[in-house]
């Protein structure tokens, strides 16, 4: 499993442009909002958590169709499945690699982006906390989606249609936690619900991805 993770990280380092693309997309998409809705600080501050969340969601989708796609096309997926690791653990390792190469960089860029969007600095740690759980969720849901559309024609188009509705609860709890804190309420229930989604997604997404991978290999 560590060997697979190391291989995934090495590959994403060699293809650094793909990794960077998601990050740049995130920053650029976020930077478009002040241009479109005007630079008024109070408006931006109100919208900032939502903007960061939606941009992170979309940016995390970008590298997903290559997550298993390349392995499927060059025969590596067969080798991975024969390597002795259960299919759901292969998927879990892929999800972890996706988070390390996409979720973590997004998390690092989210702080500066939020401040640029006039989010009050005391709220930034909370936003990052919810995003940390949220990006993990997205990696799991995205891995499942990527495994399910494997081998389908136009899988890249199908993938967002499959993943985005499933990601809606994550988005709602994540953004409303920050909103609640901004309004002076406790963000705790929202954060707990967000973590509950993560706890449910962890086993379910991995089992579903494993089954989807086995199916795709047949």
């Amino acid at each position: 499993m560590t060997a697979l993770l190391a291989r995934e990280l090495r590959l994403s380092l060699r293809h650094g442009a793909d990794t960077l693309a998601a990050l740049l997309f995130f920053v650029l998409a976020g930077a478009l909002f002040p241009l479109a809705i005007g630079p008024a600080p109070e408006v931006l501050a109100r919208l900032a958590p939502g903007i960061v969340w939606v941009c992170a969601l979309l940016a995390a989708l970008l590298p997903l169709d290559r997550l298993f796609g390349a392995d499927f096309e060059d025969g590596s997926l067969d080798q991975l499945l024969l390597g002795g690791l259960p299919a759901s653990l292969v998927a879990g390792t892929k999800a972890l690699a996706h988070w390390l190469t996409t979720g973590l960089p997004l998390l690092l860029a989210a702080g500066p982006l939020a401040i640029m969007l006039q989010l009050p600095p005391p709220l930034v740690p909370l936003l990052l906390l919810t995003l940390a759980a949220g990006t993990l969720d997205l990696s799991l849901l995205g891995t499942m989606g990527a495994a399910v559309v494997l081998g389908a024609r136009r899988g890249g188009v199908l993938l967002p249609l499959l993943v985005l509705p499933l990601a809606a609860p994550v988005l709602i709890f994540g953004a409303s936690a920050v909103d609640a804190a901004a309004a002076g309420l406790s963000p705790r229930p929202h954060v707990l619900l967000l973590l509950a989604v993560l706890a449910a997604a962890l086993p379910l997404c991995l089992l579903a991805s494993g089954a989807a991978l086995r199916n795709a290999a047949e």
């Binding site: 060997a3 697979l4 291989r7 090495r10 590959l11 060699r14 293809h15 390349a70 096309e73 060059d74 025969g75 590596s76 067969d78 080798q79 499945l81 024969l82 390597g83 002795g84 290999a217 047949e218």
Partner: protein, 197 residues
């Protein structure tokens, strides 16, 4: 682990669909340890499908496959599968590509067996089709004594490499390994059984 009773790989009454089409029907085979089996037949006869069933990548729609008497769906056999696709990452070097299959084993013998030492540091995207095939075949070294499933292994290989593959298969069979190969080209596999699909 493996109760090595010498019975090798066996399939009983295997049937498999490919999409809507029944490509394998009531296929039975038995290859004892040290044995080899050539799968012959026209394109589309189901040779590759049968190899994927034996590998455990595809579940048979009827029948069962055993390795040393144990059902492969319950106990995973030590399979090395070389399919049509070479499973090589263009961005990684030859050694990096092999290291993943080696799982910590020494790469030297595998590189030597397929005459890849001179290419070891090259990124795989610089390799020719035949050289890529040799990298894929070098993985076999890490599955010595297990079950080798080869799908058109000599496609694109030069004569010297075919001889090297022949020597490898001989060593493997001497180590109680089993070879099942699908091919249209003559393979250096002396006294191999044949199965026409």
């Amino acid at each position: 682990m493996n109760g090595r009773d010498g019975s090798g790989v066996a399939a009983e009454g295997v049937a498999a669909f490919r999409g809507e089409r029944l490509v394998l029907r009531d296929v039975s085979l038995r290859v004892p340890t040290g044995g080899a089996l050539l799968l012959l037949g026209p394109n589309g006869a189901g040779k590759s499908t049968l190899l994927r069933v034996l590998a455990g990548l595809k579940r048979p729609d009827a029948g069962r496959v055993t390795w040393h008497g144990a059902d492969i769906s319950e106990e995973r056999p030590p399979v090395t599968y070389v399919g049509h696709l070479d499973a090589i990452k263009p961005g990684l070097s030859v050694t990096e590509n092999l290291a993943f299959a080696a799982r910590g084993a020494d790469l030297g013998p595998a590189l030597a067996a397929m005459d890849l030492e001179a290419l070891r540091a090259l990124p795989a995207r610089m390799l020719s089709a035949g050289q890529r095939r040799r990298v894929a075949l070098a993985r076999l070294l890490f599955g010595m004594g297990g079950l080798w499933l080869l799908d058109e292994p000599t496609l694109g290989l030069d004569a010297g490499s075919v001889d090297r593959l022949g020597r490898l298969m001989m060593q493997h069979r001497a180590a109680e390994g089993v070879v099942v190969a699908a091919t249209h080209l003559p393979l250096p596999l002396p006294d191999a059984a044949e199965l026409r699909l």
